[in-house]
């Protein structure tokens, strides 16, 4: 059976664009909450970047349903299949949850949600300091969870590239569009 062993081009563009954005977002997030003099300009990037990620992840979810991921190579153990599936569900869930919790917590604190000049978003929750406190903690916890999931993803990718050599890494990393079967190491 012929397999398309690559993610479609649009999926790969979305993946790599968002990879850069999410990594930048996590770095800016942990950096800004620790800084004084750099706080303001970092926050000024963090908020609009969060909105952009929220928009892109919605497009990406639709794209994923329309253009499913290529099947994993035969022979991958069940636990790895489950880990791959679960980590992707968690990544998508967190990419939705973090911007929404961020937006919600700013609403609950009654901060204006200014993005650029006079462009701003409406609040999505009522002004409630206690609710803000809960959401602010949730934002941190979820961000660390996203970082941990990212690290798992970031470790698994070179495992496929350097150890398993099963084409899974190339299915997302290669810029050239190819077709054919996964090149599992034992194939002749």
């Amino acid at each position: 059976m012929a397999q398309h062993l690559q993610f479609p081009t649009f999926s790969r563009i979305l993946h790599w664009t968002m990879a850069v954005m999410v990594l930048a977002m996590l770095s800016i997030g942990i950096g800004m909450v620790a800084s004084l003099s750099d706080y303001h300009w970092l926050v000024s990037i963090h908020k609009p970047l969060g909105v952009l990620i929220l928009i892109l992840v919605a497009i990406r979810l639709v794209n994923r349903l329309v253009n499913p991921a290529p099947p994993l190579p035969e022979g991958i153990p069940a636990w790895q299949r489950f880990a791959a599936y679960a980590s992707h569900v968690v990544l998508y869930a967190l990419m939705f949850a973090l911007p929404l919790v961020g937006w919600g917590m700013l609403s609950a604190a009654r901060y204006p949600i200014v993005h650029y000049g006079s462009l701003q978003l409406p609040p999505i929750l009522p002004h409630d300091a206690a609710l803000y406190a809960v959401l602010r903690t949730a934002h941190t916890v979820l961000a660390f969870l996203l970082f941990a999931t990212f690290i798992a993803h970031f470790s698994a990718a070179p495992m496929h590239a350097l150890i398993y050599r099963d084409g899974v890494f190339q299915s997302m990393a290669s810029w050239r569009t190819r077709s054919g079967k996964f090149a599992v190491a034992t194939q002749d």
């Binding site: 706080y39 599992v184 190491a185």
Partner: protein
């Protein structure tokens, strides 16, 4: 037929293949580098970096922890009123708040310091926080105090100064040696203190002027920018505080006087913008504006309502000085970002804490209680 054990690269036995362990090590190092970068950015590798948390920890170290209250400017009362803009600010800033007309305002009076139940005193710095709320939603928040210049120029100086001026348990006063040492290393603070001490404190919240201290930039509709500072200049005539006031039994005499005052008649301030010239320092709040700079009165602030801190009112608002409308921008003053950052941490800590009643309560008959 291949060996069944090597039929798949996913088995542990694949580790025995040549070079696999080295490649695994490379992957491990790459992951460690990424985690290490994050740890560095987050400040976990630099225990001496001055972070928001350490700044607010220092307030707690000096003042104690008062759950539910701001870590600075803890003693306060909520106010509301309106700003009548005369339209003269439009040529300076495109912010909606400066168009001729009336804009609702909420805010707070407070005393500098992190102790919410401290007795009002003759040398307590009076403060005013405001949130201008034009219908367009472009909010302008500002937190001002009634001294003419700030006493430090950067967050590091502030952090040191807090500790140097911490009262000693034995004497109730700061250790003069520590303060002397601090001032020797911070001549800008010595100069600023001379300016501050040259002016007596007012007899109340109503007859003193509040200064934004930090410089900002006004940008008008044509895109022209100018460095500015702003002040709320009291309409009521200035009177210095008299010794009789603070020897009174009332621990809240300053607050109670302004509560009674607003009950009698609204209190007014002129909103005055001082326009800097090219070359004027904008990154050092210890330096006053040269006295010959143009000042523009952009309208009148009227406070006609006062109430105790309660859920949903000024208590639950962070008067972050960098909540600005389009048309007002931060200057290069490092204190601005640091204030925004520290206020944010203070707000987050207290938002999650159980609330105690504030010192200043207003009874139903409108009198301070």
């Amino acid at each position: 037929m291949p060996d069944p054990n090597s039929a798949t690269p996913y088995r542990l036995s694949a580790l025995r293949e040549k070079g696999v362990l080295i490649r695994l090590a490379v992957i491990g190092i790459a992951v460690l580098i990424v985690v290490g970068c994050f740890a560095f950015v987050g400040g976990w590798l630099s225990p001496h970096r001055l972070t928001q948390a350490r700044m607010i920890d220092r307030f707690e170290e000096v003042n104690g922890v008062w759950p539910g209250f701001r870590r600075n400017h803890a003693k306060s009362v909520c106010i509301a009123g309106y700003f009548d803009s005369n339209g003269d600010g439009v040529r300076l800033s495109k912010a909606a708040v400066f168009r001729a007309g009336r804009v609702p305002v909420i805010g707070r009076f407070s005393l500098a310091g992190g102790q919410p139940y401290v007795a009002d005193g003759p040398a307590a710095v009076r403060a005013m926080g405001l949130s201008f709320r034009p219908p367009s939603g472009e909010e302008w928040r500002t937190a001002m105090i009634d001294i003419p210049v700030f006493i430090v120029k950067d967050p590091e100086g502030f952090y040191e100064q807090l500790l140097a001026s911490k009262p000693e348990p034995a004497t109730g006063k700061p250790d003069p040696a520590k303060m002397k040492d601090f001032l020797a290393r911070h001549p800008e603070t010595s100069r600023a203190l001379q300016i501050v001490q040259a002016k007596p404190f007012s007899s109340g919240f109503a007859n003193t002027s509040y200064n934004g201290l930090d410089a900002f930039r006004f940008v008008n509709a044509a895109g022209a920018a100018a460095p500015v500072r702003w002040s709320m200049v009291a309409v009521e005539r200035f009177e210095p505080e008299t010794p009789a006031q603070s020897v009174a039994q009332d621990k809240n005499y300053l607050f109670d006087a302004v509560i009674a005052g607003i009950e009698r008649a609204p209190i007014e301030w002129h909103v005055v913008v001082t326009i800097g010239q090219p070359g004027d320092s904008t990154d050092d709040a210890t330096i006053p504006c040269p006295s010959n700079r143009q000042q523009v009165d952009v309208g009148t602030l009227t406070i006609n309502h006062i109430e105790g801190e309660a859920p949903g009112n000024c208590r639950d608002i962070n008067f972050d000085p960098l909540v600005l409308p389009s048309g007002i921008e931060p200057s290069d003053d490092p204190l601005l970002s640091a204030r925004s950052a520290a206020y944010s941490t203070s707000f987050t800590r207290r938002a999650g804490e159980k609330k105690e009643p504030s010192a200043v309560q207003i009874s139903d008959d409108g009198k301070g209680a």
